[in-house]
Protein backbone atom coordinates (compact mmCIF):
# COMPACT_ATOMS: atom_id res chain seq x y z
CA UNK A 1 0.00 0.00 0.00
CA UNK A 2 1.43 3.31 -1.19
CA UNK A 3 0.63 5.37 1.86
CA UNK A 4 2.21 3.04 4.43
CA UNK A 5 5.31 2.88 2.25
CA UNK A 6 5.29 6.68 2.05
CA UNK A 7 5.32 6.91 5.86
CA UNK A 8 8.20 4.42 6.03
CA UNK A 9 10.15 6.34 3.39
CA UNK A 10 9.75 9.61 5.28
CA UNK A 11 10.87 7.77 8.42
CA UNK A 12 14.08 6.72 6.68
CA UNK A 13 14.59 10.37 5.71
CA UNK A 14 14.19 11.41 9.36
CA UNK A 15 16.77 8.84 10.46
CA UNK A 16 19.24 9.95 7.79
CA UNK A 17 18.88 13.65 8.58
CA UNK A 18 19.17 13.07 12.32
CA UNK A 19 22.35 11.11 11.66
CA UNK A 20 23.71 14.10 9.69
CA UNK A 21 22.85 16.37 12.61
CA UNK A 22 24.61 14.02 15.06
CA UNK A 23 27.76 13.98 12.93
CA UNK A 24 27.68 17.77 12.47
CA UNK A 25 27.37 18.19 16.25
CA UNK A 26 30.36 15.89 16.71
CA UNK A 27 32.39 17.96 14.24
CA UNK A 28 31.47 21.20 16.00
CA UNK A 29 32.23 19.73 19.42
CA UNK A 30 35.66 18.64 18.18
CA UNK A 31 36.49 21.82 16.25
CA UNK A 32 39.49 22.44 18.54
CA UNK A 33 40.45 18.85 19.37
CA UNK A 34 44.17 18.36 18.74
CA UNK A 35 44.23 14.81 20.12
CA UNK A 36 41.43 12.52 18.92
CA UNK A 37 41.09 8.85 19.93
CA UNK A 38 43.99 7.89 17.62
CA UNK A 39 46.28 10.57 19.09
CA UNK A 40 46.10 12.62 15.87
CA UNK A 41 44.19 15.90 15.42
CA UNK A 42 40.46 15.34 14.84
CA UNK A 43 39.34 15.03 11.21
CA UNK A 44 35.87 16.18 10.29
CA UNK A 45 33.42 13.41 9.45
CA UNK A 46 30.81 13.36 6.76
CA UNK A 47 27.70 11.20 6.28
CA UNK A 48 27.31 9.52 2.89
CA UNK A 49 23.69 9.08 1.89
CA UNK A 50 22.46 6.56 -0.62
CA UNK A 51 19.08 5.83 -2.12
CA UNK A 52 17.70 2.65 -0.57
CA UNK A 53 16.46 0.94 -3.70
CA UNK A 54 14.47 -2.16 -4.50
CA UNK A 55 12.30 -4.34 -2.35
CA UNK A 56 13.87 -6.08 0.61
CA UNK A 57 13.16 -9.63 1.70
CA UNK A 58 11.01 -8.74 4.68
CA UNK A 59 7.44 -9.98 4.86
CA UNK A 60 5.72 -6.86 3.50
CA UNK A 61 7.90 -6.50 0.40
CA UNK A 62 7.74 -10.20 -0.45
CA UNK A 63 3.96 -10.08 -0.11
CA UNK A 64 3.66 -7.04 -2.35
CA UNK A 65 5.97 -8.55 -4.99
CA UNK A 66 3.87 -11.74 -4.99
CA UNK A 67 0.72 -9.70 -5.38
CA UNK A 68 2.25 -8.06 -8.43
CA UNK A 69 1.53 -4.73 -10.02
CA UNK A 70 -2.23 -5.20 -10.02
CA UNK A 71 -2.59 -3.51 -6.66
CA UNK A 72 -1.32 -0.28 -8.20
CA UNK A 73 1.75 -0.22 -6.01
CA UNK A 74 4.04 -0.52 -9.03
CA UNK A 75 7.04 -2.78 -9.37
CA UNK A 76 10.55 -2.05 -8.20
CA UNK A 77 9.69 1.04 -6.19
CA UNK A 78 12.45 2.35 -4.03
CA UNK A 79 12.18 2.57 -0.28
CA UNK A 80 13.74 5.70 1.07
CA UNK A 81 17.25 6.70 1.91
CA UNK A 82 20.00 5.04 3.92
CA UNK A 83 23.30 6.05 5.44
CA UNK A 84 25.89 4.11 3.45
CA UNK A 85 28.78 5.24 5.61
CA UNK A 86 30.48 7.89 7.67
CA UNK A 87 33.73 8.98 6.05
CA UNK A 88 36.55 11.19 7.23
CA UNK A 89 37.18 14.38 5.29
CA UNK A 90 40.69 14.09 3.85
CA UNK A 91 41.13 17.83 3.27
CA UNK A 92 44.33 19.24 4.82
CA UNK A 93 44.45 20.02 8.52
CA UNK A 94 44.97 23.62 9.58
CA UNK A 95 48.27 24.75 11.07
CA UNK A 96 48.33 27.69 13.44
CA UNK A 97 51.20 29.33 15.29
CA UNK A 98 50.71 28.86 19.02
CA UNK A 99 54.01 28.10 20.80
CA UNK A 100 52.33 27.91 24.22
CA UNK A 101 50.09 25.00 23.19
CA UNK A 102 51.08 21.63 24.68
CA UNK A 103 50.77 19.98 21.24
CA UNK A 104 52.93 22.56 19.46
CA UNK A 105 55.85 21.20 17.39
CA UNK A 106 59.40 22.48 17.80
CA UNK A 107 58.70 25.47 15.51
CA UNK A 108 55.70 26.44 17.62
CA UNK A 109 53.00 25.29 15.15
CA UNK A 110 49.93 23.32 16.22
CA UNK A 111 48.03 21.11 13.78
CA UNK A 112 44.33 21.83 14.19
CA UNK A 113 41.27 19.87 12.95
CA UNK A 114 39.97 20.57 9.41
CA UNK A 115 36.61 21.65 10.83
CA UNK A 116 35.18 24.86 9.43
CA UNK A 117 32.51 26.13 11.81
CA UNK A 118 30.66 27.98 9.04
CA UNK A 119 30.44 24.82 6.89
CA UNK A 120 29.11 22.89 9.87
CA UNK A 121 26.48 25.52 10.63
CA UNK A 122 25.20 25.53 7.04
CA UNK A 123 25.12 21.70 7.10
CA UNK A 124 23.17 21.89 10.34
CA UNK A 125 20.59 24.26 8.81
CA UNK A 126 20.38 22.06 5.71
CA UNK A 127 19.69 18.88 7.68
CA UNK A 128 17.26 20.62 10.00
CA UNK A 129 15.25 21.93 7.03
CA UNK A 130 15.31 18.54 5.32
CA UNK A 131 14.12 16.94 8.58
CA UNK A 132 11.15 19.34 8.65
CA UNK A 133 10.34 18.53 5.01
CA UNK A 134 10.27 14.82 5.86
CA UNK A 135 7.96 15.49 8.81
CA UNK A 136 5.60 17.39 6.49
CA UNK A 137 5.64 14.55 3.95
CA UNK A 138 4.82 12.06 6.69
CA UNK A 139 2.02 14.29 7.95
CA UNK A 140 0.51 14.50 4.44
CA UNK A 141 0.57 10.71 4.04
CA UNK A 142 -1.05 10.32 7.46
CA UNK A 143 -3.82 12.79 6.58
CA UNK A 144 -4.46 11.00 3.27
CA UNK A 145 -4.62 7.68 5.04
CA UNK A 146 -7.05 8.82 7.73
CA UNK A 147 -9.25 10.39 5.03
CA UNK A 148 -9.41 6.98 3.39
CA UNK A 149 -10.45 5.41 6.67
CA UNK A 150 -13.31 7.95 6.80
CA UNK A 151 -14.77 6.20 3.73
CA UNK A 152 -15.71 3.30 5.98
CA UNK A 153 -17.93 5.41 8.22
Amino acid sequence: MGLFDAIGISGSGLTAERMRMDVTSENLANAETTKAANGQPYRRKEVVLQEAGGAGNDFASVLSSVQGGGSGSGAGVANGVKVSGIVEDSSPLKRIYDPGHPDADKNGYVTMPNVNTVTEMTDLISSSRAYEANVTAMQTAKTMFSKTLDLLR
Binding site: L3, I9, R20, L49, S73, A133, M138
Partner: protein
Protein backbone atom coordinates in the same frame (compact mmCIF):
# COMPACT_ATOMS: atom_id res chain seq x y z
CA UNK B 1 -24.07 -3.82 -14.44
CA UNK B 2 -22.37 -4.69 -11.17
CA UNK B 3 -22.52 -2.81 -7.95
CA UNK B 4 -19.55 -0.67 -8.97
CA UNK B 5 -19.47 1.03 -12.35
CA UNK B 6 -16.64 2.48 -14.45
CA UNK B 7 -16.65 5.75 -12.53
CA UNK B 8 -16.23 3.98 -9.19
CA UNK B 9 -13.37 1.87 -10.54
CA UNK B 10 -11.82 4.93 -12.15
CA UNK B 11 -11.96 6.75 -8.83
CA UNK B 12 -10.32 3.81 -7.12
CA UNK B 13 -7.52 3.80 -9.73
CA UNK B 14 -7.09 7.55 -9.28
CA UNK B 15 -6.83 7.12 -5.50
CA UNK B 16 -4.13 4.47 -5.78
CA UNK B 17 -2.29 6.52 -8.39
CA UNK B 18 -2.36 9.50 -6.08
CA UNK B 19 -1.19 7.39 -3.13
CA UNK B 20 1.71 6.06 -5.21
CA UNK B 21 2.53 9.62 -6.23
CA UNK B 22 2.70 10.60 -2.55
CA UNK B 23 5.14 7.73 -2.08
CA UNK B 24 7.35 9.05 -4.89
CA UNK B 25 7.28 12.57 -3.40
CA UNK B 26 8.24 11.20 0.04
CA UNK B 27 11.07 9.32 -1.65
CA UNK B 28 12.29 12.54 -3.29
CA UNK B 29 12.14 14.50 -0.04
CA UNK B 30 13.96 11.72 1.84
CA UNK B 31 16.71 11.80 -0.79
CA UNK B 32 17.05 15.58 -1.01
CA UNK B 33 20.70 15.36 0.13
CA UNK B 34 21.63 12.14 -1.69
CA UNK B 35 24.34 12.84 -4.27
CA UNK B 36 23.36 11.84 -7.82
CA UNK B 37 19.73 11.06 -6.91
CA UNK B 38 17.19 11.50 -9.73
CA UNK B 39 13.73 12.58 -8.66
CA UNK B 40 10.84 10.18 -9.25
CA UNK B 41 7.31 10.94 -10.27
CA UNK B 42 4.14 9.03 -11.07
CA UNK B 43 2.04 9.85 -14.08
CA UNK B 44 -1.32 8.18 -13.80
CA UNK B 45 -3.60 11.07 -14.79
CA UNK B 46 -2.91 10.97 -18.54
CA UNK B 47 -3.17 7.15 -18.74
CA UNK B 48 -6.42 7.22 -16.79
CA UNK B 49 -7.81 9.99 -18.96
CA UNK B 50 -6.95 8.05 -22.12
CA UNK B 51 -8.57 4.87 -20.77
CA UNK B 52 -11.77 6.54 -19.56
CA UNK B 53 -13.72 6.13 -22.81
CA UNK B 54 -12.59 2.51 -23.17
CA UNK B 55 -14.98 1.29 -20.48
CA UNK B 56 -14.56 -0.62 -17.28
CA UNK B 57 -11.87 -3.09 -18.37
CA UNK B 58 -9.67 -0.36 -19.87
CA UNK B 59 -9.99 1.79 -16.74
CA UNK B 60 -9.28 -1.07 -14.35
CA UNK B 61 -6.14 -2.01 -16.29
CA UNK B 62 -4.55 1.42 -15.78
CA UNK B 63 -1.54 0.70 -13.62
CA UNK B 64 0.43 3.73 -12.44
CA UNK B 65 4.19 3.27 -12.20
CA UNK B 66 7.03 5.28 -10.77
CA UNK B 67 9.47 6.82 -13.26
CA UNK B 68 12.71 8.71 -12.89
CA UNK B 69 12.74 12.31 -14.07
CA UNK B 70 15.86 12.66 -16.24
CA UNK B 71 15.66 16.43 -16.72
CA UNK B 72 18.73 18.55 -16.11
CA UNK B 73 20.28 18.87 -12.69
CA UNK B 74 21.00 22.25 -11.15
CA UNK B 75 22.61 21.18 -7.90
CA UNK B 76 26.32 20.71 -7.41
CA UNK B 77 25.88 17.31 -5.73
CA UNK B 78 23.97 15.90 -8.73
CA UNK B 79 20.67 15.46 -6.85
CA UNK B 80 17.78 16.65 -8.99
CA UNK B 81 15.41 17.31 -6.07
CA UNK B 82 14.06 20.83 -5.77
CA UNK B 83 12.53 20.95 -2.30
CA UNK B 84 10.11 23.78 -3.13
CA UNK B 85 8.84 21.93 -6.16
CA UNK B 86 8.34 18.78 -4.08
CA UNK B 87 6.46 20.73 -1.42
CA UNK B 88 4.05 22.25 -3.93
CA UNK B 89 3.58 18.94 -5.79
CA UNK B 90 2.83 17.34 -2.46
CA UNK B 91 0.25 19.98 -1.53
CA UNK B 92 -1.39 19.64 -4.94
CA UNK B 93 -1.42 15.85 -4.78
CA UNK B 94 -2.88 15.89 -1.27
CA UNK B 95 -5.76 18.12 -2.37
CA UNK B 96 -6.30 15.97 -5.44
CA UNK B 97 -6.50 12.89 -3.23
CA UNK B 98 -9.00 14.60 -0.93
CA UNK B 99 -11.15 15.67 -3.88
CA UNK B 100 -11.35 12.14 -5.31
CA UNK B 101 -11.96 10.80 -1.85
CA UNK B 102 -14.91 13.11 -1.19
CA UNK B 103 -16.51 12.21 -4.54
CA UNK B 104 -16.11 8.57 -3.58
CA UNK B 105 -17.65 9.21 -0.16
CA UNK B 106 -20.71 10.82 -1.75
CA UNK B 107 -21.14 7.93 -4.16
CA UNK B 108 -20.89 5.42 -1.34
CA UNK B 109 -23.52 7.27 0.70
CA UNK B 110 -25.86 7.32 -2.33
CA UNK B 111 -25.30 3.59 -2.74
CA UNK B 112 -25.98 3.03 0.97
CA UNK B 113 -29.26 4.90 0.88
CA UNK B 114 -30.29 2.99 -2.27
CA UNK B 115 -29.64 -0.27 -0.45
CA UNK B 116 -31.82 0.97 2.38
CA UNK B 117 -29.29 1.87 5.01
CA UNK B 118 -29.10 5.31 6.51
Amino acid sequence: MGLFDTTQIGLERALSGSALRQQAISQNIANVNTPGYRRQDVDFASALHAAWDGGQSAVSSVNPTQQADMSSVMRADGSSVDIDQEASTQAENGLHYEAIESVMKTRISILKSAIGGS
